[in-house]
């Protein structure tokens, strides 16, 4: 059914149709609207017998989800940014215990400086936690990925994180096709826990594993994730069967045939990129885009196939590893066998708008071979240079962020 909805509401509706049994929530912008909506549905009795638990922290939220999942309930929560870091220990734990929790991550930057706007720093920070991480390009994708997330999590007995760009998607009102409850029931079977706390069949879950078996446990976790690559495609195919549209999978190529330059990116920037690619194609540039829907497990083979014909690969990503460069770019480089010519464009940090104009510039430079290995898109070079000069001039220049803000403030006031 087509609806014009806020992204958060669409996600909440999708989650609700998956019949979660325990939803736990702690507010953090920009995730709040999702759990608010679910809370209202539970309160109204629409999700009975689902329990909605208002917890005291994200750490508790994931912990409640762990307890609920281990007890055989379909458990869901949502968070963002600092919240994800605050629950990080439990995030790792849920994966280690093999509990099929589903979590929405309304992607947001991580402080300091505190920032409530979108980038992917949070998701990247837990990329090694053992979760399946899916990225939504649009709110329709967010809906579709959540439906698949529950089925995936439970068939894999692994937690799944659906990453949705904070504000850009969560707060955007747009058209979404929401499936009916009956359609979702047919697609997402009842939860059959792999392990469950049951007095009739008691087990001990969460044993201490020493050097004699820990490496094996980790190796098996790796194998499980690699097998998840297949399962993700199986579920995506099933999704097409059930809903008649594409809505998942590993990678999503767009106009990559004969492309010299292929951009690799994740999340909502893909829409703007596709507009930019179309425009560049209109200008005769042979460019394409590959969207990564699945980030963990990393679809190395699928990605390599998608960019095999490209002369150069540019990764546009909303996070970076300080002191190294792109996070996604590192993974892409690894997936492409260490091939040179993978450029990194760090963009959209802390909510900085990514415009089609800027992306067009990237495409043009990439086609011209003038794109640098690492680009910070739309970086205010003047501010940075002033601060660098100040740092060089004085060992005690004060916090750079503060200085930069002051500079920008001065500059903003200046022309008036």
């Amino acid at each position: 059914m087509l609806r014009q909805l806020e992204g958060s509401r669409a996600i909440a509706e999708a989650v609700a149709r998956c019949r979660p049994q325990v939803v736990c929530a702690y507010p953090i912008t920009p995730q709040t609207h999702i759990v608010e909506a679910l809370g209202a549905m539970v309160k109204a009795g629409e999700l009975a017998p689902c329990r909605f638990v208002n917890v005291e922290s994200e750490f508790a939220a994931m912990s409640v989800a762990i307890g609920a999942s281990a007890t055989g309930a379909r458990a869901y929560t949502a968070t963002a940014s600092q919240g994800l870091l605050y629950m990080a220990e439990a995030v790792f734990n849920a994966a280690g215990l093999g509990l099929p929790v589903v979590m929405t991550l309304a992607n947001r930057a991580i402080g300091a400086p505190i920032n409530i706007w979108n980038d992917h720093s949070d998701a990247m920070a837990v990329r090694d936690a053992g979760w399946v991480q899916l990225f939504a390009e649009s709110n329709q994708a967010a809906v579709d990925l959540h439906l698949q997330a529950f089925r995936l999590a439970e068939s894999l007995s692994l937690p799944v994180m659906v990453c949705v760009d904070g504000f850009v998607l969560t707060h955007a009102f747009e058209r979404v096709d929401l499936p009916t409850a009956e359609q979702v029931d047919a697609f997402v079977p009842p939860f059959v826990p792999r392990q469950v706390l049951d007095p009739d069949h008691p087990v001990s879950i969460g044993a201490m594993v020493g050097p004699e078996a820990f490496e094996e446990v980790r190796y098996l976790g790796h194998v499980k994730q690699l097998r998840a690559l297949e399962e993700i495609e199986v579920v995506a195919a099933a999704f097409v069967d059930h809903f008649g549209r594409q809505g998942g999978g590993l990678v999503q190529p767009y106009r990559t045939e004969d492309a010299d330059v292929v951009i690799v990116a994740m999340g909502s920037v893909l829409g703007t990129l596709e507009d930019a690619v179309d425009a560049a194609r209109d200008r005769g540039r042979r460019v394409g885009v590959v969207g990564l829907t699945t980030f963990r497990p990393f679809p190395a083979d699928a990605l390599a196939g998608a960019v095999s014909g490209a002369r150069s690969v540019v990764v546009v990503e909303k996070a970076f590893s300080t002191g190294l460069g792109g996070v996604l770019a590192t993974d892409v480089t690894l997936a492409l066998g260490g091939r040179t010519g993978v450029a990194t464009v760090v963009a959209g940090l802390g909510g900085r708008p990514i415009t089609q104009a800027s992306l067009t510039g990237v495409l043009e430079r990439a086609c011209d071979g003038t794109l640098e290995a690492l680009t910070f898109l739309d970086l205010d070079r003047a501010v940075v240079d002033r601060e660098l000069a100040r740092m060089d001039a004085s060992a005690r220049s004060g916090p750079s962020a503060e200085n930069i803000l002051r500079d920008r403030g001065e500059r903003a006031r200046g022309p008036r």
């Binding site: 629409e46 392990q195 469950v196 969460g206 044993a207 594993v209």
Partner: protein, 570 residues
């Protein structure tokens, strides 16, 4: 949202159950995460017993009551039965050692209670009161003593029908021996009858317990004073003889006295009262001596109409041999006590008392100071000695200090002649005599069988510091009610009453069960390693050394000290 949430939940539950039921042969459900999820109880494969350097062992320690009992009673053992309300079982356990619970419960001076560990906690267990309850209950219900064993074909002569002789006869008879008991008096009981006042031991109680004993098949010959033992043994052949003639000859002290002075001994006063021929005493009587007999004499005199009995004793009350309870009751009855005094003379209705002082050794020394005390009679209660003239014809029976010498086997220096009771050295109490009788019977049995009697080694004494008394609820002793003092002196009614059943039960349950497991489950409960198995009622517990780490909590928390830690031997 619409749909069928209940149906979905049910389906999920069914599916979960289906998975859980598909357990693999080794018990692991399919698909459970490797290593992270484990099947329950698997640590039983880890035998932590290897950590142990000390191991607990269940022990029996000797309860101080048992240790102290001259009659060798297993007081803790019969209290254990009584605690359960099994009075007959308790009584049967008791009479294994002593056939006179009703008498004991009245006349014993209770060394058991003196030794009782509970005395250090609050008050000693009223063992004697429970014993009396059991004894009275047995008489009331007509419980019979155990039948004798198969006839042994041996015949033993017991001389003296007092507590020692009767006890020996009892144990010998139970062992299947033929027993002939010769008693000089016209009734059995000895000092129980002629030395203990009625108000302490009603004679029907004595008669009933003696009769019950005699009915085991003891040949009793009353009025048979043995004057010449050799002659008697020549006259009729016995396989062994037990000599328990007691000590009835009153000791005399030289007291310068005028002809008119009325001086008599305590035993004749007591036996005269018993036989209904009390001596004439007058209004004012002094009793000279500090033992229980002196108190008995004074209290008897009080009941015979003496208005002002006074006990004269050379030393102080704390050094008086008489038992506190007796002295206390005497005081309640109006008997005066004069300490640090000796009788220096008695004439013209006046006693001359010399004041004494105690020297460094606590011995009384004369001071030369005297005073006078009006008295119509002086009763000497200075102890008794045995009349051993019957041994004159058997010179190989060694006699020393007016007592028969016996070895540890109760045998005199004449083979086959054993002796006990007041006729031999030792405490002269009924209980001791009963113990002598039992001991001698055992020795005689062994001697008749031509072997040494091997007594089991005595267990380590269960002292107070072996106990963990926190577990015992606070519970004061149940006192036996007593006759009001004002009504005591008008006759010979029994002063101390028995406990009602409820109170006797309560008192029995005050027993700490020192040194002997009473199945409180503490060891079973406090083991952090579940290494104690409970074997069921009456069967106690066993340590599971596969898992016992030897921490010792069981031993520390055993209320009664029935667990010891021993170094592990590997």
């Amino acid at each position: 949202m619409t749909g069928r949430p209940e149906a979905a939940t049910e389906a999920a539950t069914e599916a979960a159950t289906a998975v859980a039921e598909q357990v693999t042969p080794d018990g692991a459900a399919p698909g459970e995460p490797f290593a992270v999820t484990l099947e329950v109880g698997s640590s039983l494969a880890n035998h932590t017993g290897s950590w142990r350097v000390e191991r607990p062992v269940y022990v029996h320690r000797l309860p101080p009551c048992n240790d102290a009992c001259p009659a060798g009673e297993d007081a803790q053992g019969w209290l254990y039965r009584a605690e359960e309300g099994d009075y007959e079982g308790a009584w049967r356990h008791l009479v294994e050692e002593n056939p006179f619970p009703a008498v004991m419960g009245r006349v014993c001076y209770r060394p058991c209670e003196t030794a009782c560990n509970r005395g250090e906690l609050d008050e000693a267990v009223g063992i004697n009161a429970v014993e009396r309850f059991l004894g009275d209950e047995a008489l009331r219900r007509g419980w019979r003593l155990p039948d004798p064993a198969e006839p042994s074909g041996r015949h033993v002569l017991v001389i003296g029908g007092g507590p020692a002789g009767l006890s020996a006869a009892y144990h010998l008879r139970r062992a299947g021996h033929q027993v002939t008991l010769r008693e000089a008096q016209g009734a059995l009981g000895g000092m129980m009858r002629y030395g203990i006042p009625l108000y302490r031991l009603p004679r029907d109680v004595l008669d009933d317990e003696v009769q019950r004993l005699v009915e085991l098949g003891i040949e009793v010959e009353l009025h048979h004073r043995v004057n010449d033992l050799a002659a008697e043994l020549d006259e009729r052949s016995f396989d062994a003889t037990f000599l328990a003639v007691g000590a009835q000859l009153a000791k005399r002290a030289y007291v310068p006295a005028g002809d008119s002075a009325r001086v008599l001994d305590a035993l004749s006063l007591l036996s005269g009262a018993e036989q209904g021929t009390p001596p004439v005493l007058g209004r004012r009587v002094a009793v000279y001596g500090g033992g229980d007999t002196a108190i008995d004499a004074a209290r008897t005199a009080r009941r015979l109409g003496v208005t002002e009995p006074v006990v004269v004793y050379r030393r102080t009350r704390d050094r008086m041999p008489a038992h506190d309870v007796e002295v206390g009751e005497a005081v309640e009855e109006g008997i005066r006590l004069r300490w640090l005094s000796t009788v220096a003379g008695f004439e013209g209705g006046e006693l001359v008392l010399e004041e004494m002082v105690l020297d460094e050794d606590g011995l009384p020394q004369p001071t030369g100071r005297t005073e006078r005390l009006e008295a119509d009679a002086l009763v000497l209660a200075l102890g008794e000695e045995a009349d051993l003239s019957l041994l004159a014809s058997l010179p190989d029976v060694e006699v020393r200090d007016d007592t028969v010498v016996v070895g540890s086997g109760a045998q005199t220096t004449h083979p086959g002649i054993f002796a006990g009771g007041d006729a031999v050295a030792g405490d002269r109490t009924v209980t001791t005599a009963v113990g002598h009788g039992k001991h001698a019977a055992g020795q005689i049995g062994a001697w008749l069988a031509g072997r040494d009697l091997v007594l089991p080694a005595r267990h380590e004494l269960a002292t107070f510091d072996h106990l963990n008394t926190w577990y015992y609820a606070d519970a004061p002793k149940q006192e036996r009610p007593r006759l009001e003092a004002a009504r005591r002196t008008s006759g010979f009614s029994e002063v101390v009453f028995g406990l009602a059943e409820d109170n006797a039960l309560f008192e029995a349950r005050r027993c700490l069960s020192c040194g002997n497991c009473f199945e409180c489950d503490n060891c079973f409960g406090v083991c952090p390693d579940n290494a104690v198995a409970k074997l069921g009622p009456g069967n106690g517990y066993a340590f599971d050394l596969d898992y016992c780490k030897g921490c010792g909590i069981c031993a520390a928390e055993c209320p009664c000290g029935a667990i010891a830690m021993e170094p592990e031997r590997r």
